[in-house]
Symmetry: C2
């Protein structure tokens, strides 16, 4: 009892100030999602393990939080598994549910399960926590929110254009300068094809993805290690050092990938997307980056990633097109494309750059000091009048020492304090104190309303 309670490692409580900042982020993103016609869904925190297992690789299977079956969970466990303490094979006997690991697989499950009720293309957004039994470390948590928008059931590149425009709008509202890096998996496939190493596409994308981190020499060394011929590596070089405008890069790619059908298709897609985005105009820099690969191998077309210009930080948003996400649940041939905002990193970026609007953390506009029974009764009537005008107001509940009440006002960043003491009661006025300037003025409640409205 004496020991302070704790929470599981890698999880967090969010204080009122943190929540206010997080709400600012989520509400900004939500507003933009709605402006573009995306609709919200929610899925359960627990999914059947059969839905989740095998979707995130072996490592992912291990990192899923599994929920113990209710009641006598040992009833169905074969004796030999118990005797052998075979914790791996026992799992499927004692647990049939796991916690959501991302929003993509539950979304694919949702689409397949509700396919008959849905009108395609289906544009949905989803903002919910996910759980991963990762080793907690700085910036990595076991519970964190994902914030995704996806369209399924349309292979039109209009969706890509719109998603990029949404990203631009969101970060424009935040006031964060960003670069949106765009690439296309088909271009990467084309590259693998023309250098004669189509089976090495995964190795190539993984290596290329590291170019910013480890430099071109190490990437080449890694490619060689992976079995690429020197000839193939030589052919890759111009691509790794591609420069100029997006149009210039596309022209270079035209020449290099002329022999690859898939490569040419990728270039065509990039040209459409980048062309339309340029025509619509963006605050952000939109940059074709052939070194962008993204780790997730379910992407099949456009891929994109967002970096903040003024902060050292990994990708703060990412996404891409996948052609067969629902296939694993028995609904093949449904193309989708989506983006995911990294809420925790965006939170850090806005903190670092001090970009939260001034009113983010203040909720109550005016606090009425409590001078006792009769005075607080009058104050209760006043706050009701203020609230009726949409002004957030409260009465300090106890007739405590002035210092305590003022500390309360300060800790909540309340901009105005109102005092109704004996004199004010007699004259029907309120003494309104501006907490920033210290200025104090006597006025009627109607004047207070006028001022704070």
């Amino acid at each position: 009892m004496a020991q302070k309670p704790t929470i599981p490692k890698g999880t967090r409580d969010f204080s009122p100030i943190q929540m206010a900042k997080r709400n600012y982020i989520f509400n900004t993103i939500k507003d933009v999602f709605l402006l573009y016609g995306y609709q919200q869904i929610e899925t359960p925190a627990m999914e059947n393990l059969s839905t989740l297992m095998g979707k995130y690789g072996d490592e992912g299977d291990k990192l899923l939080f599994k929920v113990l079956n209710s009641g006598d969970y040992l009833r169905k466990v074969p004796d030999e598994l118990l005797a052998d303490k075979d914790y791996i094979h026992m799992i499927s006997h004692i647990s049939e549910k796991g916690l959501r690991y991302d929003l993509t697989v539950p979304f694919a499950r949702y689409v397949v399960m509700h396919r008959d009720e849905l009108q395609f293309p289906f544009k949905r957004y989803q903002i919910q926590p996910v759980w991963r039994a990762d080793r907690p470390q700085k910036g990595r948590y076991r519970e964190f929110y994902q914030c995704d928008a996806d369209v399924v059931g349309s292979d039109s590149l209009v969706n890509e254009v719109e998603l990029i425009s949404m990203i631009d709008e969101v970060f424009g509202r935040f006031g964060v300068n960003i670069v949106i890096k765009v690439n296309n998996r088909k271009v990467l496939s084309g590259i693998a094809e023309v250098i004669g190493a189509p089976d090495k596409i995964v190795d190539i994308t993984v290596a290329i993805d590291k170019i910013d981190k480890i430099g071109i020499d190490n990437v080449n060394a890694e490619l060689s290690e992976k079995g690429l011929s020197q000839d193939a590596i030589d052919q890759l070089q111009p691509l790794l050092t591609l420069s100029g405008t997006n149009d210039e890069k596309l022209a270079t790619l035209d020449g290099l990938l002329a022999a690859s059908e898939v490569g040419k298709k990728g270039i065509e897609e990039l040209r459409y997307v980048l062309g339309h985005v340029a025509e619509l105009g963006t605050k952000a820099t939109v940059e074709l980056d052939v070194s962008l690969a993204r780790g997730l191998n379910y992407y099949t077309g456009t891929i994109l990633e967002v970096k903040a210009c003024d902060v050292e930080m990994g990708s703060i948003t990412g996404g891409g097109r996948y052609d067969n996400l629902t296939g694993v649940f028995g609904m093949p041939g449904t193309s989708g494309v989506g983006i995911s905002f990294g809420a925790d990193r965006i939170y850090d970026v806005l903190n670092t750059l001090d970009l939260y609007p001034a009113d983010t953390i203040s909720s109550t506009r005016v606090l009425f000091i409590n001078f006792g029974e009769k005075e607080s009764s009058a104050s209760l009537r006043y706050v009701m009048q203020l609230r009726a005008q949409g002004i957030s107001a409260e009465v300090y509940p106890d007739s405590a020492k002035m210092k305590k009440q003022m500390n309360y006002a300060n800790s909540k960043h309340v901009p105005y304090v109102a005092m109704v003491g004996e004199n004010e009661l007699a004259s029907g006025t309120v003494a309104l104190k501006n907490m920033e300037t210290g200025e104090q003025v006597s006025m009627t409640i109607d004047q207070v309303i006028e001022k704070l409205k």
Copy 2:
């Protein structure tokens, strides 16, 4: 693979329309919380089992969802427990985390853990899902949202007055007629005292709580069964049939509980709360109901419950004062009072009474039909102009059959459809169709903006 995926029993997916309605409910409640100076917090979905166990009774301990430890979870299990298949005692060896069962215990844990950072009184609200391994049935789920507001660190009855006023405001905004039933546990203790059965308080409150359901005769029979003397039961009768205005009821209680200190204190508290609530004025009927007991035995003062007048439904909101919620975590003597809105039941009430505002489920204001490459490029520019004015708009991504595009508009309840075909491209106009009236007018994009703004 062929089989349609499912979700765990007792859990739900929420579709866009359901989400829109739920958001309307949560946003309305949030707005009122903020208007009264309550601040949001969030706590992790998983808590240590040591935090949760023993707080909800034996039944609650069973209904907690337990999360299997990661890695070799059998490593620390004593052999004899495995040999005996002792699933009950094994739990603490293989699971150290559980899913949140309500918002109250995590809040108490939060207050104790962060006591040094908090300024008391602390007024917090919290809207998050909770999980219970209850047998699923109509209206009862294994995952559902709770929506709580509490103040801790103040025993002022101003808080009670404010909470009742908040309830009134919330249901006023919903347009639901309600009765707020109010009682005080101290009055119930006083009753037990004056009838000479102070140890029977739990039996009495449990029995009285059933008066509406089983009638006075059965309540009396139950009290007799529980060991109350006929004399005591006779004394209880006038209380069970108390009638008149709140003031009349309080006057009757004055006489009946004159010999009980705790009873008199309860009456005094009720008089303050009901008096102030009456003075501030409420849309709702606020009614002193001595048969109101509420099951939760941690309540120590005011208790309250809300019923909808025009729908047959259990309590849709409840709450009360508790004097020692944080004591179990080593922080005694902190009084608190709070309310909890039953979101799922409110959802059903608003559905039954058809009280959702007309614009709740429509998100996109105008959909641009896609007539092909050139036309959709123009439409993309138009929707950007609309969005810049805060008007939610989208372009159908594919140049599909008109019927399909119109079905899409209908399924999303889009009120306007815009057409930019060859003629409109040539004349720089947009054909805007009102989906309700069928009326179609040719106008410039500026006129469209003016109309939809």
